[in-house]
């Protein structure tokens, strides 16, 4: 435990000092941290899922508080909580299934089962209640009638396993933790692999001789464009340089290294160039539940210009960027002001500030993020495919459980 605690503190400090930036990197670190938290967490015999949830929540709250703007942290914590709940539920239902089988022959087993998880409730009620809270009826589940099959592919095997092991208390305890870690591993895998999943769809969206505008530096965008390039599409990319952080220059460098025709433009030329652009592709920092996007600063300007010229505005986002929150005043509340020194050299202006007695004040505003309202977004491309902004809330319901929305 102590070493977990120390890694948590270390990570919190990193987040606080903005040593780790970028939603992908933070998501990865967070989920790895949570995995170790879970694996080191001592699970009591009774109500082990709740114990895990509490532990993860406690760490999650620290992490979120460390950098509330980095929404990916919260997203990942919620995802892990969701995994725990799902695993717990699947185990319970499996146990119930086993229970039903064993019910007639052996009463002890029934007692055991009840002793483990749900001593007071009848199995059917528990399962139904759990299902209703965890999984709002999606079209798929309604049609197939098999709630577990879609999102938890290993349920059947674990169910088969658990059936044989229901009698063993300790093994069942280990089972939950094991399954959760399995699930978290899969989440890690998913976060790491979301680029490829998104990039696979590039060919469907980019045609020959296209002119694409992008801004900010996003690995997803890079992979997306390169995937299209590898498929022998030849197109031209305009990159807005993204002052004052100049991440566009980074992106341009990478794109050129991969052999794409790249033109770096100033941010102010976005409106001038948009009339010749076929598509705007950006990587999101976070996607809100209403379909709004938080992206690198300057994105809203590009989105407005794209709207004006009816240019599709496409947002690439891995599923770890889907945030189940509805934004309120996101330009201010979900934003971060960086150092003024990126814009103005203080030395330059110190003289004119104290020259006259009645000299004016000088503020420098240097925000990091920009919010794009959903009506400006044409399409989201996530690792599960393309979606409308209006569909985001539904997608989010698949990934998070309603209990965790407020941590």
């Amino acid at each position: 435990m102590p070493d977990v605690q120390s890694t948590v503190v270390e990570f919190v400090n990193k987040l606080r000092k903005r040593k780790i930036e970028g939603s992908q990197a933070t998501a990865k670190c967070t989920v790895e941290l949570l995995r170790s938290v879970i694996s080191y967490q001592r699970v009591p015999h009774a109500n082990q899922a709740a114990a895990l949830i509490d532990a993860v929540k406690a760490v999650g709250q620290q992490l979120v508080a460390a950098n509330p703007v980095e929404l990916a942290v919260g997203n990942v914590v919620r995802r892990v909580l969701h995994i725990i709940r799902e695993e717990d539920l699947s185990l319970t239902t499996a146990a119930m299934a086993g229970l039903d089988l064993l019910d007639a022959s052996d009463d002890d087993d029934v007692d055991n089962c009840k002793g483990i998880g749900y001593p007071a409730m009848s199995a059917a009620v528990v399962a139904a209640a759990a299902r209703s809270t965890l999984r709002p009826p999606s079209l798929q589940t309604l049609l197939e009638g098999t709630p577990e099959s879609a999102t938890v592919p290993y349920t059947s095997s674990s169910g088969a396993d658990s059936e044989s092991k229901t009698a063993d208390k300790s093994s069942l305890t280990r089972k939950l933790k094991h399954d959760v870690i399995e699930g978290v591993n899969q989440l890690i895998h998913e976060i790491a692999g979301c680029h490829e999943q998104i990039a696979e769809q590039a060919i469907e969206h980019i045609h020959q001789n296209e002119v694409i505008l992008t801004l900010g530096s996003s690995r997803t965008v890079l992979e997306f464009l390169c995937a299209a390039k590898e498929k022998k599409r030849s197109f031209r990319v305009f990159v807005a340089e993204g002052a004052p952080r100049y991440q566009g220059h980074l992106l341009a460098k990478e794109l050129v290294a991969r052999g794409l025709q790249t033109t770096v433009i100033t941010d102010s030329a976005v409106f001038a160039m948009i009339s010749r652009v076929n598509m705007v592709i950006i990587g999101a920092h976070a996607v809100m539940a209403n379909g709004g996007v938080i992206g690198p600063v300057g994105v809203n300007m590009a989105a407005l210009a794209a709207k004006k010229h009816a240019v599709p505005f496409v947002v690439l986002a891995g599923s770890h960027k889907l945030c189940p929150l509805y934004p309120h005043n996101p330009e201010v509340l979900l934003n971060e002001l960086r150092s003024p020194s990126e814009l103005l050299d203080f030395g330059e202006f110190s003289d004119c500030l104290d020259s006259g007695a009645g000299s004016g004040s000088l503020q420098v505003v240097n925000p990091t993020f920009d919010y794009v309202p959903p009506n400006l977004v044409s399409l989201f491309i996530t690792d599960t495919g393309g979606h409308n902004p209006s569909y985001m809330y539904r997608l989010i319901a698949d990934y998070y459980s309603a209990d965790d929305l407020v941590m």
């Binding site: 031209r236 305009f238 340089e241 993204g242 002052a243 004052p244 952080r245 100049y246 991440q247 220059h249 980074l250 341009a252 460098k253 794109l255 050129v256 052999g259 794409l260 025709q261 790249t262 033109t263 770096v264 433009i265 100033t266 941010d267 102010s268 030329a269 976005v270 409106f271 001038a272 160039m273 009339s275 010749r276 600063v297 300057g298 809203n300 300007m301 407005l304 210009a305 004006k308 330009e331 934003n335 990126e342 814009l343 103005l344 202006f349 004119c352 500030l353 006259g356 009645g358 000299s359 004016g360 004040s361 000088l362 503020q363 420098v364 505003v365 240097n366 925000p367 920009d370 919010y371």
Partner: protein, 665 residues
Amino acid sequence: MDTRRGALAVPKVRRVGFFTSAIEPTQDSSQRPNRSQSGPVEATTSSSPLSDSPSGNLISPVLIPPSRHHSDNLTSRAVAAAAAPVPVPGPAAFRRYLAHDRGLNVGSYNPPDSLLGTSPPSSNGEFSEDSVSLFGFQRSDSAKLSASFPNGGFDLTLAVRAPQEPEPKIATVSASEVTKKIAEVSGKSESVTTKPQKEKEPKSLKDKTTKAERRAIQEAQRAAKAAAKGEGNRRADESGKANPGKAAKKPQPKKERLPATSSVSVKTAVAVEKEKRMDVPQTQMQYDDKSRVEKAKKRAVVEQTESKNKVELFLHLPQYERGNQLPDLSSNIFILDTIHHAVYKVGLQHLAGDISGDNARCIAMLQAFQEAIKDYTTPPMKDLTMDLTTKINGYVSFLIECRPLSMSMGNAIRFLKNQIRKLPVNLSEPEAKASLCSDIGRFIDEKIILADKVIVQHAVTKIRDGEVLLTYGFSCVVEMILLYAHEIGKKFRVVIVDSRPNLEGQKLLRRLVTRGLDCTYTHINAISYIMREATRVFLGASSIFSNGTLYSKVGTACVAMVANAFSVPVIVCCEAYKFHERVLLDSICTNELGDPDAVASIPSFSTKAKHLKTMDNNKNLQFLNLMYDSTPSEYISMIVSDYGMIPPTSIPVIVREYRREHLLL
């Protein structure tokens, strides 16, 4: 069509009245006594406007072909007869001939002059006008082609002419076809005439083409024009009412200046069309036209090296390697005698970027011209008007080499040329020079300095206490407004939005902060963040086009767009001399490219993003440094000009009224 023409005719009538200086050159007045006929002239000097034609000459003048070109003569007459009941084929071909010749003689950057040849007379059909402007003035391929191959144009025109000769009716039946071809032809001829716009040596073009060739071209053009006239006249007849009036209004002074008058009169005749197009050649050369670029290069004083890695969309704009030519140029400032040293200095300042801001550039240029005119002496055997115009043209093309002119500078140059053209002939040289200098001084005072003061007075009324005013980049008018509002005790806050690479906003920020204003500084990417605070947006302008499009520093459109999205009123401050009668839709066709290295190099404090210049030679990587962009008029709430506070839709009105005054000034 008829109604349209009728409607169009009215403003034309009004306008012509202000072209006081011209008379119609007529030669063969016996044939058609009350109409002017522009006779064929071997060269401008050989024939002279013998008789001052009375009123109606403009409208339906007859082409009287030169005796030498009988075939042309016949053709045109036949065509005319077939085409219209009133056989009044226009003298367009002749005009072209004249203008062409003059263009060659003058051989300089003189858009109105060089254009004269192509602009069909007012009686010409709408279609042919349009087509001419379509094919000829947009520097289409045919124009380029013929620019490089004058003979090509000739062949084509022959082809056009061929079917007309035996059966003139064809011309009328397939009138539109013919006019189209003619448009092509005129495009060619236009390019021939406008070609010298960048020439230093007036006669260079003349030297290049042999006499016979030129004659052939002219013949062909004449024939083509005659056909066009036939077509045009028919329509002209229908809307003929306006024309006599127009002609009647035309005053007829100045018979004395024989060599000049012929061309001047041509000018008058096509005043309306000319005015529409006057400015066209003043726009930048299309740099994707290799042959013309080559030619321009040969004449150039400034040896600019074209940068290799250009953005495909902007091949039509010049992009030069920066910074290598300056030392050379500044060393031979005293050696060069074709360019006046004051102009030379201003040119270098433009090149180096020492003067920025449209007003400053314009004033610097005008003052340099003023000095140049002061030092000017008319060479013996030359006419002051023509020679000075040539000189000015040379200066202008030098300035263009240094940096493409801004729209406002184009307007100022046009004003100066008009003044030169309108100089009374009986004026002695010192008087003329003094008059020009005072005209220039007055232009600077009235159109720029005084206009700014008026704008400040107007705009200040729009600032209320407690407001947050957002401005973009650096505009000296906006600066004056803010300072004045602060002076008179208004309490407000200023948000200065800035953008790379010039960071002009820092200059404004410094000035405002030292004067005690409360400022917030940010970069253009944060515009959506900061816009919620703003209550007004004040923008400067480089030019406003007659469709209400604001042509200004790049990024202005972004600011205006975001302001519009946040429902913040956008107030544009622009002197009326910057209004321009061109129209513009996007920021691609007309623009200026800055130094790409300025985009490539980024400040040292951002350590993460490394300098991209190391990859400069990579073919795949380009940097684009646009200088201007165009803001659609729907984003502009109000334009504050020296004519008051107007909506963008009023720009064309102001342009028309202003132009009138402009010419009178």
